[in-house]
């Protein structure tokens, strides 16, 4: 949404005019995805804080995936695939 109607080369499209508001909006929406324990969604926290928390959260999730991969690898070594499939179907139906 550019207020200047200049036809200069620098103005490619309105989409490239990234406003503070747009960023803040995206940041606050990202905040809603983060676990409540880290950020009280009522408070207005800084964008930098949200980004830092996002980093931490993603790293935690990666770690959880790694742990689960370990666990699954152990479980799979002692279970054959057909019973794994049966287990999946059962858990999906529950």
């Amino acid at each position: 949404m550019s207020s200047r109607r200049s036809r200069s080369r620098q103005q490619t499209s309105s989409a490239s005019r990234i406003t503070e508001d747009q960023i803040n909006d995206l940041v606050s929406k990202l905040q809603t995805l983060l676990p409540e324990a880290h950020i009280r969604s009522g408070d207005r926290v800084s964008a930098a804080r949200v980004l830092q928390e996002t980093c931490n959260y993603i790293r935690n999730l990666h770690r959880e995936v790694d742990d689960l991969s370990e666990r699954l690898s152990e479980l799979l070594s002692t279970t054959d695939m057909s019973s794994a499939q049966a287990a999946i179907i059962r858990s999906l139906l529950m």
Binding site: T12, A15, S16, I18, Q22, I23, D25, L26, V27, K29, L30, T32, L33, L34, P35, E36, A47, A48, L51, Q52, T54, C55, Y57, I58, R59, L61, H62, E64, V65, D66, L68, S69, E70, R71, L72, S73, L75, L76, S77, T78, T79, D80, M81, S83, A84, Q85, A86, A87, I88, R90, S91, L92
Partner: protein, 174 residues
């Protein structure tokens, strides 16, 4: 946390959607449908990984990530980055993959800040993106990872209980 969020997912559709708002990410990944698709992909990938030896933790993680990227159907940069890196490793059609549209809106990211770059490092394929795109990718990635953890945990739990139920499987251990 996840339980309360899934109730929310239905009601956020009332909000005005801006270009790729993170609420979309929540709605997409927290439906049961995505998880079911992911489960299927995960099993396929694990099956493929089995090969000769039993899948080690690393192989399982690779399978889990590939399955996640496939479930995303390459609609996000991070998922394309995962799929591309797999293909490169298997040396298949690298050139064709390279031609997948890489729409960079601005050659020089107009709004870059160091905090955002921290996030760019942990999201695959998003190292040098302008802040708004990066934030959208991050939101989608977070929601996808949550689903991945949930699905893997469910699978592990299901396998554990199946294992307890059938004691003859422990004979394989040794």
């Amino acid at each position: 946390m996840l339980a309360s969020a899934s109730i929310e997912a239905g009601s956020t559709s009332g909000k005005k959607q801006r270009t790729g708002s993170p609420n979309q990410a929540q709605i997409k990944w927290r439906t049961g449908a995505q998880e079911r698709i992911y489960n299927r992909r995960l099993i396929e990938a694990l099956r493929a990984a089995r090969g000769a030896a039993r899948p080690g933790a690393h192989a399982v993680k690779e399978a889990a990530d590939s399955a996640l990227a496939l479930t995303a159907r390459g609609q996000s940069r991070w998922s394309r980055a995962i799929l591309t890196s797999r293909l490169r490793r298997r040396k298949l059609l690298v050139k064709a993959v390279g031609r997948i549209r890489r729409r960079r809106r601005s050659p020089v990211p107009s709004k870059r800040d160091p905090a955002a770059m921290k996030v760019g490092r942990v999201v695959p394929g998003c190292r040098s993106l302008p802040a708004p795109t990066l934030l959208e990718e991050a939101a989608d990635y977070v929601a996808a990872l949550e689903m991945q953890v949930k699905a893997m945990r469910a699978l592990a739990d299901a396998l554990s209980s199946a294992r307890i139920a059938s004691p003859e499987s422990e004979a394989a251990e040794s």
